[in-house]
């Protein structure tokens, strides 16, 4: 800290970054498009600012503008960005190069594509050091190890020698952060640093960001679509919508007393884990940049809007000039919004599907395994690799009308299991019965019937729809294959499906790229429901979508479940989402189920140590909570070479020794305080499971 003090004193009066009514314009074939309008912000040394917005809000453009790195057709048409008093966009190419990576560092969104696949990660970091300092190769190497240690990479020498594809997403993200830190930058811009990561990894990366700010006084701009990421990491927050700032202030001002209807809506949309209130969605969709409305850009989606919102541009109004930070909002009705705020609804008791326990399950899987990469003959005789055990002996049943959630980190085998259950993927062994029939015995028409009855919705609607076919044709195709309706009835069915998923017949003539992410996912859901399925696997159905539309899709799924009397297997890595949309929960780790039970029993103690870690890793919306998170060491081990004994013992915070190493625990019934029974695979006794960290 001390070495930094002099610079803090020197710059006391001047902000590090000063953006003044910035407008960024893109030259497009359809004319000029203003991607950012009237953005002002000022950051002092050591401050942390979180910028939040949906896709299309211009947040990444802003991040890149701060480094004067815009696409070729983009330019700053008015306003200015000053760094240390100098206008960034007036600098020469060489002056700019001297700042980038050195004083101003950027951590990009997708670590998988942002690292050069052909260079070792150590080299990618040291080249930055050598570019900006006159350190010798040896000194740069030392600095590299120091940096890798800072970002909590254990075996620095080993990791430095790896290629990016040999590292997990979380490790890649840490490498990128180390790279950005290599020259002690004044400003660190993180663009969605945790979006592609598991909650557990997200928690450690966010802790790391906070540490960096505390120990090195690094100024941080963190950009995200997930407000809960900002709550515990930043001091100040800025809400961006369609290229304009909607609200700005300290995190506690913005999160605890939001004044803009959009901020309130976004906050209500974030799923909550420690709160019984459900999530809402913000109605409508972000306008395309070419069709920004006159006046207030949010008016079309706003519950408070009046005619005068749409006449003239709205200026920022000061809400509280004397608070910890200037709290400003771009709304002419903010006082109304404050007195009658948009809030998440208190949850009404979930209407559960008609289930009776004595009825036989709809689907029953016993001892299902799925191995990838089973060695060929030649591999075996020459000592090849063992197979990847993606699913390793799973017993699971789904009752009629229920939603069974399947949760776990990426790589735990949950998607593979889901695909095996509907026979999209052929299992290696094990038996599945559906409606009492063994799947392996189904032939001919019985098999077709199973296909209509058991469907799957994939995570990413952008890639699961055929980009070259109209929505109507894609649905028509599904209706043709999954039902035996005649020609006219098929057309009616398509209309009906569109209506059931909240779209109208005008959507039928459109192509997927003309729809928003949420609309596309509705189409994918409609397709799955074409044949009146009794069982649908939902593989991360909302995780590729903006927070603001997630609740909409979840509501839709709930409604369809009741209308069609369908059961779901709801696969998700996000326990917050699961909490509001499931009857039972199964937790999966390295191809095995480690805990299964009713939603109430899984979300309440006693927990499996892994479930407990997952729960504690979820970020909270309340800026004041500072709950200790359980840190899991390292990554999920390779499924090619899983640990002996309990698969979780290598990372378990409640590891008890040899027994865990050697003996594989079985699912045993454990009672919660309410007398609810659920099954946990752990060697600890019920009392021991209760102990430990509080959530």
């Amino acid at each position: 800290m001390s070495k930094r003090n002099h610079s803090v004193v020197r710059d006391e009066e001047e902000s590090l970054i000063e953006v003044e009514s910035l407008t960024v314009t893109y030259d497009t074939p359809d004319g000029d498009v203003h991607a950012l309008r009237d953005i002002s912000l000022s950051l002092d040394r050591g401050e942390t600012l979180g910028i939040a917005g949906e896709s299309g809000s211009g947040k990444s453009t802003l991040a890149l503008a701060l480094l004067d790195y815009l696409d070729e057709n983009g330019r700053i048409t008015s306003g200015s960005i000053r760094y240390d008093g100098r206008r960034i966009h007036d600098l020469s190419a060489d002056e700019l190069r001297a700042l980038r990576g050195n004083r101003l560092a950027h951590v990009p969104q997708d670590p998988n594509t942002a690292l050069n696949p052909a260079l070792r990660v150590g080299e990618q970091i040291t080249e930055t050091i050598r570019e900006h300092t006159d350190k010798t190769t040896r000194a740069a190497q030392e600095r590299l190890y120091e940096l890798l240690e800072t970002v909590q990479i254990g075996d620095a020498a080993y990791t430095a020698d790896q290629y990016p594809h040999e590292l997990s997403g979380g490790m890649q993200q840490r490498v990128l952060i180390a790279m950005a830190l290599s020259c002690d930058p004044d400003l660190l811009i993180l663009d969605e640093p945790t979006t592609g990561l598991d909650v557990t990894t997200q928690a450690t990366v966010l802790d790391l960001v906070r540490d960096l700010n505390e120990s090195f006084n690094t100024t941080i701009v963190l950009i995200t679509h997930d407000l809960s990421v900002i709550a515990n990491t930043c001091e100040r927050a800025m809400i961006l919508y369609a290229g304009e700032v909607m609200e700005t202030g300290s995190v506690s001002q913005v999160f605890n007393s939001p004044t803009h209807p959009y901020t309130q809506g976004l906050l209500a949309a974030v799923p909550r884990i420690r709160d019984e209130r459900t999530m809402n969605s913000v109605p409508g969709r972000t306008p395309a940049l070419a069709e920004i409305p006159e006046g207030c850009v949010f008016a079309d989606r706003c519950a408070f809007s009046t005619a005068d919102c749409r006449t003239a541009p709205i200026d920022m109004t000061a809400v509280d000039a004397d608070g910890e930070a200037p709290h400003r909002t771009r709304c002419c009705h903010w006082e109304d919004a404050v007195s009658d705020p948009i809030e998440p609804e208190t949850v009404s008791e979930r209407t559960r599907g008609e289930t009776s326990s004595d009825e036989s399950p709809l689907l029953n899987a016993s001892n299902v395994t799925k191995y990838f990469d089973t060695p060929t003959f030649l591999d075996r005789i020459s000592g090849g690799n063992p197979p990847v055990k993606a699913v390793d002996g799973v017993d699971l049943s789904v009752q009629r009308g229920e939603t069974l959630a399947l949760v776990g980190e990426s790589g735990c085998g949950k998607s593979t299991l889901g695909a095996c259950l509907v026979d999209v993927l052929e299992r290696t062994s094990g038996e599945i019965t559906f409606n009492g029939d063994r799947l392996a015995d189904l032939r001919g028409s019985a098999r077709d019937e199973f296909r209509s009855n058991a469907q799957i919705v994939f995570q990413n609607p952008h890639s699961s729809l055929n980009p070259r076919k109209r929505i109507g044709d894609q649905l028509h195709r599904a209706v043709t294959t999954l039902t035996d309706l005649d020609r006219t009835a098929r057309r009616d069915r398509v209309e009906e499906l569109l209506d059931h998923v909240g779209l109208d017949s005008t959507h039928a003539a459109r192509y997927p790229h003309e729809l928003s992410g949420g609309e596309k996912q509705r189409v994918a859901i409609a397709r799955a429901f074409a044949g009146n399925p009794a069982f649908v696997v939902l593989d991360e159905p909302v995780s590729a979508l903006d927070v603001s539309v997630q609740a909409n899709i979840l509501d839709l799924l709930d409604r369809l479940r009741e209308e069609y009397d369908t059961s779901y297997l709801f696969i998700s890595h996000d326990l917050r989402v699961v909490k509001h949309s499931s009857d039972r929960v199964a937790v999966m780790y390295l191809g095995q189920i480690v805990e299964v039970g009713s939603r109430e029993s899984v979300f309440n103690p006693p927990y499996h140590p892994y479930t407990r870690a997952l729960l504690s890793a979820n970020p909270d919306l309340d800026p004041e909570t500072d709950a200790e998170r359980i840190q899991l060491d390292g990554d999920v081990p390779s499924a090619r070479d899983p640990p002996t004994g309990c698969p979780f013992h290598t990372r378990c915070p409640q590891y008890i020794g040899e027994k865990c190493d050697r003996q594989e625990p079985e699912l045993t019934p454990v009672e919660t305080a309410d007398g609810d029974t659920h099954h946990i695979a752990c060697h600890l006794s019920a009392d021991e499971l209760e102990d430990g960290l509080e959530l």
Binding site: Y69, R100, G101, A114, G384, R640
Partner: protein
């Protein structure tokens, strides 16, 4: 044995199996073809008695599989038979001619790499500029002109009555005429042989490099403050050249085929002409040996390209399918 060795072994086994299969096919063709070697050799002296005697001498009266095995055994021990036409051991013939063709092919390959890759990179870095327009324009011309047109055109221009700069054809060994004389016979064939490939590769390299220069890791490199030279040469080239490497390997096969055409046009006494002559005169031992040799070269070139891939793209790790 690590996974790489295992992979290499597997590939070599495949190459061997392919060669064996091919040798059977080649042998069968010579059996199926109308007229046998004895008749061909004897030509118009082929009275039934003469043919029968020669057949016995050549061993053609034996069952086919015995003939085949005999031929294979000879082939692996270096006894490739005797050319009917040249009356010389096939092995010597193929080696002498092969070396001449190798000069042509290797020089062409080097020329292709040395011209097309830099040109493609320059066109990509300065894309949409006049320089790019010039390079791309030339490449367009290149891909639309077949090599017999290029060859004839070059002959008319540089070996004809207008400018008689280069010899119109033929070959002078290094030992006989010295390097200048030797090289002068190679210039026009090499240009003919490389023109089309260079044009193809320039276009491919340019497209791939433009795409790579827009990738996120190139953006990362620029945002590190690296200068554009390092960004292009260190970060973009290794990834952008991957498809070029594939096409280059395919070009080796093409070169072998192109050699046949070009050697005919320039009367260059290499493997190609030997092959054409062998086909025309039913010189079966030569035909068999040349076809197998050319196929072998082609297979090893492909294997080489796949191995080169691992250098350019470490994500491709042979032997294990782990991502």
């Amino acid at each position: 044995m690590n996974s790489f060795h295992r992979y290499l072994l597997k590939r070599l086994v495949y190459v061997l199996l392919n060669l064996v299969g091919l040798s059977v096919v080649v042998f069968c063709i010579t059996v199926v073809l109308p007229g046998n070697a004895a008749e061909t050799i004897l030509g118009r002296y082929a009275t039934p008695e003469n043919v029968a005697t020669l057949e016995r001498e050549l061993g053609l009266h034996r069952p086919h599989h015995v003939q085949y095995l005999d031929w294979v055994a000879g082939f692996v021990t270096g006894d490739w038979g005797t050319s009917f036409r040249h009356n010389r051991p096939v092995f010597d013939l193929v080696v002498t001619r092969g070396i001449r063709s190798a000069y042509l092919a290797v020089i062409s390959l080097v020329a292709i790499v040395a011209v097309s890759i830099p040109a493609g990179i320059i066109a990509a870095v300065y894309s949409e500029s006049t320089l790019d327009a010039g390079i791309t324009g030339l490449a367009y011309v290149g891909i639309s002109v077949p090599e017999f047109v290029t060859g004839t055109g070059l002959l008319v221009l540089f070996a004809g009555p207008v400018w008689s700069v280069f010899p119109a054809g033929g070959y002078t060994p290094l030992s006989a005429g010295g390097p200048v004389e030797w090289a002068s016979h190679l210039v026009l064939p090499v240009i003919t042989l490389t023109f089309l490939s260079i044009a193809h590769l320039v276009r491919l390299t340019r497209t791939e490099m433009i795409e790579t220069l827009q990738s996120e890791y190139v953006r990362t490199a620029r945002l590190k403050g690296l200068d554009e030279r390092t960004v292009v040469l260190k970060h973009a080239v290794r990834n952008g050249l991957l498809p070029t490497v594939t096409l280059l390997a395919m070009n080796v096969g093409y070169l072998v085929g192109g050699v046949v055409v070009v050697e005919e046009v320039f009367a260059y006494p290499g493997l190609g002409r030997l092959l054409v002559g062998a086909v025309l005169h039913r010189d079966i031992p030569v035909l068999q040996a040349t076809v197998l040799l050319v196929a072998g070269i082609y297979m090893f070139a492909n294997l080489g390209a796949d191995l080169l891939y691992t250098y350019f793209d470490p994500r491709i790790s042979y032997g294990s399918s782990a991502r």
